[in-house]
C-alpha cells in the first residue's frame, strides 16, 4: 500500500471537525435567531405597554397644568416620568401656549442625550428632531379637557438603543454559548470519534502497514470497535487469509515449477541447470576457502545397448537404481546430478588434494559394477568416470565440465569401468592411493600389521616404567612401512578404527601374556583415535576386549592427542570420563601442539601429559623449546599430573628434562620401538645406560 502520497489528503478528523462545526453553528445560529426575534418582540410589546401606562398617568395631570399655563410644572411631571424609565423622549404640544406664541402649539418636553442624560427638548435642535424621527417606536395622545376641548398632545418616544443593548447582550451571550457549546460538542464528538472510529481505523492502518515483502499484513486486523468497524476488520481479515492461502498455493506451485525446472523428472536429481549453478557456487566457495573441488562425470558403459535391447522402461529403472546407489555412496555435502541419458555428475567440495577424489571414484566404480536385478533380469553394468579438479585443471565451470567430460572419454578409451583424471599425473597419484587403500584393507585382513613397543623409563634410576604400543606394517613386498605412510590414509578412510582395535587387542594380549609370565612391563600406552571414541559401542568393545584378552585396566593407558580432544572438548570429556571410570589411565599425547584451553584441561579426567617430541628435538639449546618444556612440566605439576617426554634421543635432552622435573623419558635414548620378543629381552635384562 502506498502511504506516501496521502499527506495532502484531508484527515477524517478535519472533515468531521468541519461538519460538526457547521452543524453546531447552524443549529446554534437558528436558536439564537429565534431567541433574538422572540426577545425583540417581547421588548417591543413591553415598550408599548409601558408607554401607554406613562401616557395615561400623565394625561390628566398635564391637562390640569396646561389649563393653568403651568408649563414648568408639567415639564417636571414629564421629567419625573422619564426618570426611572428608559423611554427616549416625551414631547408635549401645548395649544394654549401655542396661541400665546402665535403658533399652532408650544412644544416642550424631555429627551435623552448621547450619554442617556435627560435634557430639555429643544424643538429648534435638528439633531434632536432627527433622533426622534429615528426612534423605533412612538405614540401620541390628545390632551383634552373634561368638556372635550383639545388642549394639546403628548407624545412618547422609545428608541431602540436600550432594546439594542439588551439584544446585543443576548447576541453576545448566544455567541459565547455557541462557542462554548461548539467546543464542548467538538470535544465530545472528537473523543467519541477518536475512540470509536479513528482509533480502530488507525489500528487497522497500523496493522496493514506492518506487512511482509509481498505487502500482505503480517498479523490479522484486530476486530474491535463498532459494528461497522468490526465488519470491516472481519472482511479485511477474510481477505488477508484468502490472499495468504492463495500465496501458499502459488508458492507451492512456484516451488513445484522451480523444482521441475531444476530437477530431473525421472530420478529427482539436479538437472543440468541446477548442476551448473551448484558448480558455480562450489567454485566461489573453494576460491574463498582455498580448497579444491572435484567434478565427476559418470557415464554408464553400454547403456544404450541395454536400452535398445530391454526397452526404455528397464533402462529407466536401471537409472533409478544407479541414482540410489550413487546417493548412498556420496557424502551429504556433495551434489549429484543427472545431466541427461546415462550421464551423471558429482561435485565434491572441500578437497585438500586432487587425489583425494580417487577413493570416491574407486568406490563408485566398484559400486556401479555390482550386478543388479531388474524385473528378474540380472544385469551387469559398469561405468566410466572422468574427474577434473578446480583449480588444478581449470577455474571456470565451463572448463571444468569440458575437462571432466574429456577425462570420462579417456576412461572409456582406457577400456571402460575405470576412472580418469583430466591430468594424467593426477591419475597416477590417485592410483597409488587407491592401491595403498586396497593394500591396507588387505593387510588388516591378512594380519600384516604388527605391534612394536617403545620403552618408557624413569630417567633417575633407568628403570622401565611402561611402554607405548605402536603399529607397524609388515608389507609382504615393500617390507616395513612407516606409520606416517599409512596412518593419515587410514584416518581418512576410517580404517583407523579397525586398525586401532587390532593394535589394542594385540597389545592387551601381549601385556596379559607378559604379566602372566612374570614380567613387569609397567603401564602400556595405547594410541586412541577420537574417531574410535565416537563409535557408539566403543566402551562395550573396550570392556569386551579387556575381558577377552584378560588384560587388567590398570595395565593400560590410553593416549589421545591434544588436537583431537580440542576438536570437540565437551564430547571428549564425557567419553574420557567413562573410560577413566573403568580404571583406565588417560594421557594427553602430543601436548603443546593442540591449543589446549586450560579450563578444559582442568576438567579432563587425565593422569598424564606427554610433551610432544617437536619440543624435545632441539633441547636444550633452543631456548624457546626449553621454555615451553619447562612450562608444560610446571603446568603438569600444578595440575597434579604426571608428565613424560617423548622423542628423547640424547643424554643432554634427558638431563635437561630430569633437571626440570620430568623424570619419565621415552625415546631412542632408551630404545626404539621394538617387537614383543625384543621387548621381552629388555624386560628380562633391564636398561644399562
Amino acid at each position: 500500500m502506498e502511504f506516501k502520497n496521502i499527506t495532502h489528503e484531508r484527515s477524517l478528523y478535519v472533515t468531521l471537525g468541519v461538519i460538526i462545526v457547521l452543524v453546531v453553528t447552524i443549529i446554534m445560529s437558528i436558536h439564537t435567531a429565534y431567541v433574538y426575534m422572540d426577545t425583540k418582540n417581547n421588548i417591543f410589546q413591553g415598550m408599548k405597554q409601558s408607554s401607554r401606562h406613562i401616557i395615561v398617568s400623565l394625561q390628566k395631570n398635564v391637562m390640569d397644568l396646561m389649563k393653568s399655563y403651568s408649563i414648568n410644572e408639567y415639564d417636571k411631571l414629564v421629567l419625573n416620568e422619564m426618570e426611572g424609565r428608559d423611554n427616549f423622549a416625551i414631547i408635549v404640544e401645548d395649544y394654549n401656549m401655542g396661541k400665546i406664541l402665535g403658533e399652532k402649539a408650544f412644544l416642550s418636553g424631555k429627551i435623552r442625550d448621547a450619554e442617556g442624560n435627560i435634557i430639555d427638548y429643544d424643538s429648534k435642535n435638528s439633531e434632536q428632531n432627527k433622533q426622534l424621527e429615528a426612534c423605533y417606536y412612538s405614540d401620541k395622545y390628545d390632551i383634552t379637557t373634561d368638556s372635550g376641548d383639545k388642549l394639546g398632545t403628548i407624545a412618547i418616544y422609545i428608541s431602540n438603543i436600550s432594546m439594542n443593548a439588551q439584544l446585543n447582550k443576548i447576541i453576545i451571550g448566544s455567541i459565547i454559548n455557541l462557542v462554548l457549546l461548539s467546543l464542548l460538542f467538538l470535544l465530545s464528538l472528537f473523543i467519541i470519534i477518536h475512540f470509536f472510529i479513528l482509533k480502530p481505523l488507525s489500528d487497522i492502518i497500523s496493522c496493514i502497514k506492518h506487512s511482509d515483502h509481498d505487502g500482505i499484513p503480517v498479523a490479522l486486523i484486530p476486530n474491535h470497535g463498532s459494528k461497522e468497524i468490526f465488519l470491516l476488520s472481519n472482511t479485511m481479515n477474510n481477505m488477508i487469509i484468502s490472499i495468504r492461502d492463495s500465496r501458499v498455493a502459488l508458492k507451492a506451485q512456484k516451488n513445484a515449477l522451480h523444482y521441475q525446472a531444476n530437477h530431473d523428472a525421472l530420478t529427482g536429481l539436479a538437472n543440468r541447470i541446477l548442476f551448473n549453478d551448484r558448480l558455480e557456487q562450489s567454485i566461489i566457495k573453494a576460491k574463498n576457502n582455498s580448497t579444491k573441488v572435484a567434478l565427476f562425470f559418470i557415464d554408464l558403459d553400454h547403456f544404450k545397448k541395454i536400452n535398445d535391447s530391454l526397452g526404455h522402461e528397464i533402462g529407466d529403472k536401471i537409472l533409478k537404481v544407479v541414482t540410489q546407489r550413487l546417493n548412498e555412496t556420496i557424502c551429504k555435502e556433495a551434489t549429484l546430478a543427472r545431466l541427461g541419458g546415462d550421464e551423471f555428475s558429482i561435485i565434491v567440495e572441500d578437497l585438500r588434494q586432487g587425489q583425494d577424489a580417487s577413493l570416491l571414484a574407486n568406490k563408485l566404480i566398484e559400486l556401479l559394477s555390482q550386478p543388479l536385478t531388474i524385473e528378474d533380469n540380472l544385469l551387469y553394468i559398469s561405468s566410466s568416470i572422468g574427474i577434473s579438479i578446480y583449480p588444478d585443471d581449470g577455474v571456470s565451470a565451463q572448463n571444468l565440465i569440458k575437462y571432466a567430460d574429456a577425462a570420462m572419454y579417456k576412461a572409456k578409451d582406457e577400456g571402460r569401468n575405470n576412472f580418469q583424471y583430466y591430468s594424467a599425473e593426477m591419475t597416477e597419484l590417485a592410483f597409488e592411493r587407491v592401491v595403498m587403500d586396497t593394500s591396507l584393507r588387505e593387510a588388516l585382513k591378512n594380519g600384516d600389521f604388527v605391534v612394536y613397543y617403545q620403552p618408557q623409563v624413569n630417567g633417575n634410576n633407568n628403570k622401565l616404567v611402561g611402554m607405548e604400543a605402536l603399529v607397524r606394517w609388515q608389507h609382504p613386498i615393500m617390507g616395513l612401512v612407516a606409520p606416517s605412510k599409512f596412518i593419515p590414509l587410514a584416518e581418512e578412510t576410517g580404517m583407523i578404527i579397525p586398525l586401532d582395535q587390532y593394535v589394542m587387542r594385540c597389545a592387551m594380549t601381549q601385556i596379559a601374556k607378559w604379566y602372566k609370565e612374570g614380567f613387569k612391563p609397567g603401564v602400556v600406552a595405547l594410541n586412541l583415535a577420537m574417531k574410535q571414541l565416537h563409535q557408539k559401542d566403543f566402551i562395550s568393545i573396550l570392556e569386551t576386549m579387556l575381558k577377552e584378552t584378560e588384560c587388567k585396566a590398570e595395565w593400560i593407558e590410553l593416549e589421545v592427542t591434544e588436537s583431537q580432544i580440542m576438536t570437540n572438548p565437551e564430547e571428549a570429556i564425557k567419553i574420557l570420563k567413562q573410560i577413566n571410570d573403568m580404571g583406565i589411565k588417560l594421557a594427553v599425547d602430543d601436548f603443546g601442539t593442540g591449543y589446549s584451553s586450560l579450563s578444559y584441561l582442568k576438567r579432563l579426567p587425565i593422569d598424564k601429559l606427554k610433551i610432544d617430541q617437536s619440543f624435545i628435538r632441539d633441547l636444550p639449546e633452543d631456548e624457546e623449546d626449553a621454555s615451553i618444556t619447562k612450562a608444560v612440566i610446571a603446568l603438569s605439576k600444578s595440575l597434579n599430573l604426571r608428565v613424560i617426554a617423548e622423542g628423547v634421543e640424547t643424554k643432554e635432552q634427558k638431563e635437561f628434562l630430569i633437571e626440570n622435573g620430568c623424570n619419565n623419558i621415552q625415546g631412542y635414548f632408551y630404545g626404539k620401538p621394538m617387537p614383543a620378543n625384543e621387548m621381552e629381552k629388555v624386560l628380562s635384562k633391564g636398561f644399562n645406560s
Binding site: 399655563y69 400665546i100 406664541l101 399652532k104 412644544l107 423605533y136 417606536y137
Partner: protein
C-alpha cells in the same frame, strides 16, 4: 469547505437581525416644528428693558417697579412695565410680547418660581438676558437673581420680638405664625431664621398657619384661631404685610391688645404710624425699591459686558418703634418707594 462558514453564517444571521432592529420607527406623530424661536423679536435700536411683574397692584411689586423705573431712567434705558395681574396666562403673554418687542433685557418678578422657568426658557429662545427680582426660579438660565436675605431678616426681627417679650415679661408665652406658603423658598427661610431667634431665648412656638388666599379675612381667621387655642399666646408674627388688619382685628376682638404683640414682614405706608404707636411691635422690611434698582444695575452690568454676581441678597430692615425715626428716609425710599 473548512473555511466556510461559521463566521459567514453568523454574520449573515446577525446582519439580518440587526436590519430587523433598524426597522423604521413606528410613527403616529408628525414632525414637530413649532418652537420658541417663532417668537420673533422686532429690530430694536434703542436700549429697552421690560419689567414683567406678577401683580403691580400689590404695593411690594409696585414699589419694586418704581425702583426699576428709577434706575432704568437713570441709566438711560427705555422701560416697559408689564403687569401680569396675577395671571399665569397673562404673564406668559406679556413675556412673549416683551420678546417680540426685542427688548435688550427682561427683569422679572415672576408669579412663581415654576412660572419663571418658562419665562427664562422663552427669553433664552430669543436670546434675551433675564434678571430675576425676587421669588426666584426652579431652574433655567438667568443673569442674576436679586433677593432679600429672608433668613437673616427673619432672625433679626425675631430677636427684636424676643427682646420686647422679655422686656414685657412675655417670654414664657408662645408665638404664633401666620406664614406665607412654606413651599416657597422665601417662606422656608423666614420661618427658619425666626425660629432660630426664638430658640435662642427659649420662647415656645404655637401654630404655623399658611396663607392661601392672602386675604385680610384669612389672616383674621388664623389669628383668631391661634389666640383662642393658645391662652398663653404672647405674639403673632405675620410673614407678610398687606393683611395686617386681619390680625389686628383678631387681637382687638380678643381683648388682648396689651397681651399679644404683632409683628409683620415687609411694610405698608400705615406702618409708619402703627409702629411708633406700638400697635405693631415691629416689622422686617424688605427693600423692594432697592431690589428693583439692583435688578436694573445687574442687567446694565451684563449688557455692558461686566461681570455680574449671580445671586445678590439685599438686607432686610428690622424696624421697631426704637429705630423707625432714624430709618424713615430709607424706609420711605427703599421700602415704600415714596
Amino acid at each position: 469547505m473548512s473555511r466556510i462558514p461559521f463566521f459567514i453564517i453568523l454574520i449573515t444571521l446577525l446582519t439580518l437581525f440587526s436590519s430587523c432592529s433598524d426597522d423604521k420607527p413606528l410613527k403616529n406623530t408628525k414632525n414637530l416644528q413649532t418652537n420658541i424661536s417663532s417668537v420673533a423679536p422686532k429690530v430694536q435700536n434703542t436700549k429697552k428693558l421690560a419689567y414683567i411683574v406678577t401683580d403691580s397692584s400689590i404695593p411690594f411689586w409696585a414699589i419694586m417697579g418704581r425702583g426699576v423705573k428709577n434706575r432704568a431712567d437713570a441709566l438711560g434705558y427705555e422701560l416697559e412695565i408689564y403687569n401680569a395681574e396675577n395671571s399665569a396666562k397673562l404673564e406668559l403673554e406679556l413675556t412673549v410680547k416683551a420678546i417680540k418687542e426685542n427688548v435688550s433685557g427682561i427683569i422679572v418678578s415672576p408669579s412663581t418660581s415654576s412660572a419663571c422657568v418658562t419665562i427664562l426658557k422663552l427669553a433664552k429662545g430669543a436670546n434675551i438676558p433675564v434678571v430675576i427680582s425676587d421669588i426666584g426660579t426652579d431652574s433655567g438660565e438667568y443673569v442674576s437673581y436679586i433677593s432679600s436675605n429672608n433668613r437673616e431678616g427673619a432672625y433679626d426681627i425675631g430677636k427684636v420680638l424676643a427682646k420686647k417679650m422679655v422686656a414685657l415679661g412675655f417670654e414664657k408665652g408662645r408665638v404664633g405664625i401666620v406664614a406665607i406658603p412654606q413651599k416657597r423658598l422665601n417662606g422656608q427661610a423666614r420661618t427658619a431664621g425666626f425660629m432660630q431667634a426664638m430658640d435662642e431665648v427659649a420662647i415656645k412656638g404655637a401654630d404655623i398657619k399658611q396663607l392661601v388666599t392672602w386675604s385680610e379675612e384669612e389672616t383674621y381667621t388664623f389669628s383668631k384661631e391661634m389666640i383662642e387655642s393658645y391662652p398663653d399666646l404672647r405674639a403673632i408674627w405675620l410673614q407678610t404685610s398687606n393683611s395686617y388688619n386681619g390680625a389686628l382685628r383678631a387681637i382687638a376682638e380678643s381683648g388682648k391688645k396689651d397681651e399679644i404683640l404683632l409683628i409683620a414682614f415687609d411694610a405698608e405706608p400705615e406702618f409708619l404710624e402703627l409702629i411708633p404707636k406700638g400697635i405693631l411691635a415691629a416689622s422686617a422690611m424688605q427693600q423692594p425699591y432697592l431690589m428693583g434698582q439692583e435688578a436694573v444695575n445687574a442687567m446694565d452690568k451684563y449688557l455692558s459686558g461686566k461681570e455680574v454676581q449671580k445671586n445678590i441678597q439685599l438686607p432686610i430692615l428690622s424696624i421697631s418703634a426704637e429705630n423707625i425715626i432714624k430709618n424713615l428716609p430709607t424706609i420711605q425710599r427703599n421700602v415704600l418707594g415714596i
